[in-house]
């Protein structure tokens, strides 16, 4: 628990041009590829230069339009990396590169071999104490079971996702025992269930915009608590809420283009802690 968020590595992946036309999305927005790539570079720059993480950059694959969203491909905790079976069939091959990257980092790899199981990393909320996994369009019960089998030390609770793509489309960790949640009704319903089901009583940070509740928390040695969050340009009200956090080192990171294809800040990286065991 003390080491929660103490990341040392990040795995990211480039944006293929095919994202503009072919990436899955729930709305009909036009993505500006150049702008998107620029924003990703800012993001990676923050991880690498500002925060000092070792960043593993996987090359974009044009045949995998959504491949930039690496978070969905793997769940890493302790010495184990679970390679997921993404809910969207078009994304299943994204895991290959991720798997080899994690193998190189000496993780114990667990794969979802069950053809009926699906799980997107975007549905997995790890609090440092336990897992909450959203039952969403992309993640099913069987997938979560396999996750539970992979991380036996931790309680794994399922949460309904009433709206949005993933569980983390409206929530994420924003600090030790602090969970950011969107204020929409579906998000709040999920929060209620989380609070009931969880082992621990978590503090919550409620944000006016669901999408803004997707942030990236780290607890880095030498930097303390770090939070990557939305910019005031995108979500002015939510940004103000973040700005009130005094314990955190705040990094607003633009994400407007990615969000057009349902990508949150957390989607763009798999954060890894190699310090411990």
């Amino acid at each position: 628990m003390a080491s929660f968020g103490n990341f040392t590595h990040a795995i990211v992946r480039g944006i293929p041009a095919s994202l503009v036309q072919e990436a899955l999305r729930s709305s009909l927005c036009q993505v500006d590829l150049v702008k998107a790539q620029h924003q990703l570079q800012l993001h990676i720059g923050t991880l690498k230069d500002e925060l000092g993480l070792q960043v593993v950059e996987l090359p974009a694959d044009e045949s995998l339009p959504d491949c930039v969203f690496v978070e969905d491909c793997a769940v890493v905790c302790g010495d184990t990396a679970l390679i997921t079976r993404p809910g969207a069939p078009s994304r299943r091959k994204e895991t290959k590169a991720m798997k080899s990257a994690l193998q190189e980092l000496n993780f114990k790899i667990v794969e979802m071999k069950d053809d009926t199981a699906t799980l997107d990393g975007g549905d997995v909320l790890f609090t440092g104490r336990e897992f909450f996994v959203g039952l969403s369009k992309r993640t099913n019960h069987r997938g979560i079971e396999i996750l539970a089998g992979a991380f036996k030390d931790y309680p794994v609770s399922t949460l309904p996702v009433f709206e949005g793509l993933h569980l983390k489309s409206f929530c994420s960790m924003a600090g030790p025992d602090l969970i950011a949640f969107g204020s929409s009704e579906p998000a709040q319903k999920t929060l209620k269930i989380l609070q009931q089901t969880g082992d621990h009583h978590y503090k919550t940070l409620i944000l006016p915009d669901d999408a803004a509740a997707n942030c990236v928390f780290m607890n880095l040695s030498g930097k303390g608590q770090v939070l990557l969050h939305c910019t005031p340009e995108e979500y002015p009200n939510s940004a103000k809420v973040f700005e009130r956090l005094t314990d955190h080192l705040l990094f607003p990171v633009p994400n407007s283009e990615m969000s057009k294809v349902d990508g949150g800040l957390s989607c763009c990286s798999v954060l890894i802690s190699k310090t411990g065991s």
Partner: protein
């Protein structure tokens, strides 16, 4: 006063009985061993025997504890009516040993209790006990025994109780000893000699002594029952009665896993906990990751082997250790790698580290139980220090922390929890789960109660004054809580005891021998079947009852579904929707509840009418009837009325009281009232306070399925009611009418108790938790496995029946009620129960009597209003809907449940004119509920003016839910005595006992 004296005498009596016992049992034992069948025969002849027999019959059980004057009444009244029911075989069968000669009332009593109580039952017990040692592993004999026992039991529940009591009284010297095999945590076997009748604690203490363990509260002994289910040995109860005919084999295990083992005082305690956890891990019960397995394994090595020896090749021996259910070479290497890093760590430190890591595991200390949710989906319920966890496969799908849980209950194989509403919620919701069988439900319930008490409470719930509350002790955790044991541990002042750490190598091998490891055990529960003996042992009557039961079942199912629905909705709907929906459901429920069928007098009444003693009878009956509705419990009602005056009254119905409910009404003399009422009031307050302090009231009732088809005439009447009750809430009001009749002046009695919960939706629960109004909104009714109600009503000796006008209504109503009831009830006995049930379901008018309002206001008039059948119909519809889904389940259950209902009423002769019922003023309607796990006490105080004289009437209602193992007679006796002690200047005028028993497949739990 008379009463005082009497009660004293009673108390003294007990020891004497114990002494005298030996004789009777032996005789009986002989008889019994000859032929099980003989029992039946034996009974029949007795039935025919003259009055004396009858007397003795009555004397059995309840009567034994009644004051002599009461007794006399009883026997008198008895004479007449009983003649009429020659045909009531079941009832008559209860008659037993020849009556003792008439000596002084007291002596007679004593004799009766021996001869009667012990007659048939005792032998069985005896024999069984003696055979035990040899019997292990010998199934045949057991079957026979079971048969004979079962046979007895059916017609003689009382006997069983008497038996229970006797056994507890038995002089120790007589006992033979038995050798128990106790598997210790290190896998070794410890033979332990205990007396055959020793309580669980005796064995447990022996084992702890052997282990040199002081912090023993975290531990317990478990055994496997017939179904191979792991059960905890209750320290407070006899071993033999718990394990029944299972072998005397036990496993010493951790019962309560301390959330923070570092707070344990002694290393030896931690060591034992480590051993348990190693078992848990090796068996897969405590899953962990590769890394954790390795880490824990490395601490195990450090603790057992000391520092890693670089010269020795650990890998050779290391595979003999079991670090995981299945371990790879890789894991062993990892273990050794980590092991090397522990150099310098003492064994105790290694244990501590082991525990620090193990305690974080998600399944640490979680006791899993198989269940199904409302939709029939397989889930697991996990009980732990913090609450109740719900798992589907390996995933946690819900969690109910103890503070969130208002009530825990089970009814047959259903397990319910009532959830405290959230900030934004208005209603409590209840969640129901289906367990494989009744035993499983009960086991889960007990584990919950114990965990809640141990981890959540500072002290075990203790009935403040009333000793009789402890009756239900069976269900409550009797040991120390974690807080207490920690406190006590600080006093431990001894040098750290030396103990040897034995290698876990051995441990892993011995696992097979350890009973009760792992969840797999529980898997077997489903397949649990009745033992042949039990099956055979049932008699026709019981079989019949099972039919009627099936109907009950259905109702139960409905409840189950309904509540679970609430839960589902919670999750799926917005808050508003949920509220709306719940409101409508609540309304439906309320309607449903209110449409209480009226109690129906049966042949019993008719019989009574015909007999000379009729008038008294009627009164009793009336009271009885009222009682039933008011106590929504699905219990059979036994009403006993005791009159203070020595005058001989009629007391008649003798059926076995299982003390569950005691309502006491006392009219103090003129000077008395203030005192008593204050007193009671205070108590009530205190209790309520204490309740509030404790966040969760663990209440659980076991429901004993009931329905033996009536042995006593009254019982029959009850049956229908019972059924109804399930659906109904309790209506207190009815009582008033009955009392008016019976008592003359006291028409006013209000059943305040119920009123507080009148809205509780739960079918039976009403009586149990009156105290917490907030809670009551949606209460689920729990049908206690055994519910017994005792009502003791005390009237002032000098009550003056001045006819003050107010309530003519009452009287009028009574007849009406009876008529209705009679119409409704055909004379047919046993089968009838089922029929009636059906009728009720259909929403016949008679069923819809609504008594509830009366309570509130304390006006008798309101007592019986019939509500339009429509309401009921609605409910039925709903039920059907759900029932459809549930069909499968209920079908399965049908054969399993047997319900027994018994009602006994003892009523004192009325001192005051019966005619004038005045509407008393309800001064207080206090409901005191001590939420001991198994008992609830409700007290109502009514004050009224009668012809210028102020009368105070106190009615106490005690619900004791417990296993049949509870000695109900004793409980009743204590309850009565307690009541007398509490209100010395009042007299007990009425005792009503409702007993509801549910007999599951095992039949004898």
């Amino acid at each position: 006063m008379t009463t005082e004296v009497v009660s004293e005498a009673e108390v003294k009596k007990e020891p004497e009985k114990a002494d005298e016992q030996p004789a009777a049992p032996q005789q009986d034992a002989e008889q019994e061993s000859e032929q099980p069948a003989a029992i039946q025969d034996g009974d029949t002849p007795r039935t025919a025997s003259p009055q004396t027999d009858r007397k003795s019959k009555e004397a059995r059980g309840l009567s034994r504890f009644l004051p002599p004057w009461l007794k006399r009444q009883k026997s008198q009244s008895r004479t007449e009516p009983s003649e009429d029911h020659e045909d009531k075989a079941p009832m008559e069968e209860q008659l037993e040993a020849p009556p003792p000669e008439e000596v002084s009332p007291q002596e007679a009593e004593r004799d009766e209790s021996h001869s009667i109580g012990s007659a048939d039952t005792q032998p069985a017990k005896e024999e069984k006990g003696e055979e035990f040692p040899e019997r292990i592993g010998d199934g045949k004999e057991e079957e026979d025994l079971l048969e004979s026992k079962a046979g007895e039991k059916e017609d003689e529940p009382l006997k069983a109780e008497a038996e229970a009591e006797k056994s507890s009284l038995k002089p120790a010297k007589k006992m033979k000893t038995v050798t128990c095999q106790v598997t210790l945590l290190d896998g070794s076997l410890l033979p332990c000699e205990v007396e055959k009748r020793a309580k669980g604690i005796v064995l447990f203490v022996k084992v702890c002594e052997h282990l040199n363990l002081l912090e023993k509260d975290y531990f317990g002994l478990c055994y496997k029952d017939h179904a191979d289910q792991k059960c905890w040995l209750d320290p407070a109860k006899e071993i033999k009665r718990q394990i029944r005919n299972c072998p005397w084999q036990f496993a010493f295990s951790v019962k309560f896993y301390p959330p923070d083992p570092s707070q344990l005082t002694e290393d030896i305690t931690r060591y034992l906990l480590c051993l348990q956890l190693r078992q848990d891990i090796a068996s897969g019960r405590l899953p962990c990751s590769f890394v954790t397995h390795s880490l824990l394994g490395s601490y195990t090595l450090q603790a057992e082997m000391g520092d890693h020896d670089p010269d020795a090749c650990c890998l050779d021996y290391i595979s003999e250790f079991q670090f995981a259910p299945s371990q790879s070479k890789e894991m062993e290497e990892k273990v050794v790698e980590l092991y090397k890093t522990h150099r310098g760590m003492s064994p105790a430190q290694a244990d501590a580290q082991f525990l620090e890591n193990a305690k974080k595991l998600s399944m640490y200390g979680v006791d899993l139980h198989h269940a199904k949710d409302s939709e029939g989906v397989d889930i697991m319920l996990g009980v732990c220090a913090n609450g109740l966890l719900i798992y589907k496969d390996r995933l946690r799908i819900n969690r109910f922390a103890w503070p969130k849980i208002l009530k825990i209950s089970y009814k047959r194989s259903n397990f319910y929890i009532k959830i405290r509403p959230g900030e934004a919620e208005q209603f409590e919701s209840s969640v129901g789960f289906k367990l494989p069988n009744h035993r499983a439900a009960k086991r889960l319930w007990k584990v919950c109660v114990e965990h809640h008490t141990f981890f959540r409470l500072v002290t075990p719930e203790q009935p403040p004054k009333a000793r009789f509350l402890t009756l239900g002790s069976k269900f409550r955790y009797s040991g120390r809580t974690q807080a207490q044991t920690r406190q006590a541990s600080t006093l431990i002042d001894r040098p750290a005891p030396h103990f040897e750490r034995c290698s876990s190598k051995r441990l892993s091998r011995s696992l097979d021998g350890v009973p009760g490891l792992g969840m797999d055990d529980q898997a077997g529960a489903t397949s649990l079947g009745r033992t042949p003996g039990e099956k055979n042992g049932r008699d026709p009557a019981l079989e019949l009852s099972s039919d009627s039961k099936s109907k009950l079942r259905v109702q139960g199912e409905n409840i189950y579904v309904r509540h679970s629905n609430l839960m589902l909705e919670d999750l799926d709907k917005t808050q508003e929707d949920v509220l709306k929906h719940q409101a409508s459901i609540s309304e439906l429920k309320r309607n449903f509840m209110e449409s209480t069928p009226e109690p129906q007098p049966s042949q019993w009444d008719k019989r009574l009418t015909a007999s000379p003693a009729t008038s008294l009878r009627l009164r009793a009956q009336a009271a009885f009837e009222e009682e039933v509705p008011s106590s929504s419990l699905l219990s059979s009602t036994v009403a006993c009325t005791t009159s203070v005056p020595a005058a001989e009254g009629a007391i008649a119905v003798g059926s076995p009281p299982a003390a569950a409910h005691v309502a006491e009404k006392a009219l103090p003399r003129a000077d008395g009232p203030a005192y008593s009422s204050n007193d009671v009031g205070k108590t009530a307050e205190d209790k309520q306070k204490s309740d509030t302090l404790e966040q969760a009231e663990v209440e659980i009732e076991e429901t004993v399925v009931i329905k033996e088809v009536r042995k006593a005439p009254k019982v029959e009447v009850t049956v229908p009611e019972v059924v109804v009750t399930a659906v109904t809430e309790k209506e207190p009001e009815k009582k008033p009418g009955g009392e008016a009749e019976g008592r003359g002046g006291e028409g006013v009695t209000q059943r305040g108790s119920t009123s507080s919960d009148s809205h509780s939706e739960s079918e039976d629960e009403a009586e149990y938790h009156p105290q917490a109004p907030s809670v009551s909104v949606d209460q689920i009714k729990e049908l206690p496995e055994e519910e017994e109600e005792l009502e003791v009503e005390a009237q002032p000796l000098e009550a003056e029946p001045t006819a003050a006008s107010p309530c003519p209504t009452t009287e009028e109503q009574e007849p009406a009620l009876k008529d209705e009831a009679q119409n409704g009830h055909p004379e047919s006995q046993s089968p009838q129960g089922s029929v009636e049930e059906d009728e009720e379901d259909e929403g016949e008018p008679k069923l819809n009597g609504d008594a509830s309002r009366a309570e509130t206001e304390g006006f008798p008039q309101v007592i019986c209003c019939s509500e339009p059948p429509v309401v009921k119909t609605e409910m039925v519809t709903i039920s059907d809907t759900f029932a459809a889904q549930k069909t499968e389940i209920s079908t399965l259950e049908v054969p399993i449940v047997h319900t027994e209902t018994k009602t006994i009423t003892y009523e004192a002769a009325q001192v005051d004119g019966a005619g004038d019922s005045e509407p008393g003023m309800l001064m207080t309607a206090q409901t005191i509920t001590s939420e001991s796990l198994c008992t609830t006490t409700t007290t109502h105080i009514t004050k009224m003016l009668k012809g210028g004289v102020s009368e105070t009437r106190i009615e106490k209602r005690i619900v004791i839910s417990g296993d049949s193992d509870i000695d109900h007679d004793q409980a009743l006796a204590r309850a009565i005595k307690e009541a007398k002690e509490q209100h010395p200047d009042m007299s007990v005028t009425r005792v009503v006992v409702h007993k509801e028993t549910e007999v599951m497949e095992e039949g004898k739990d």
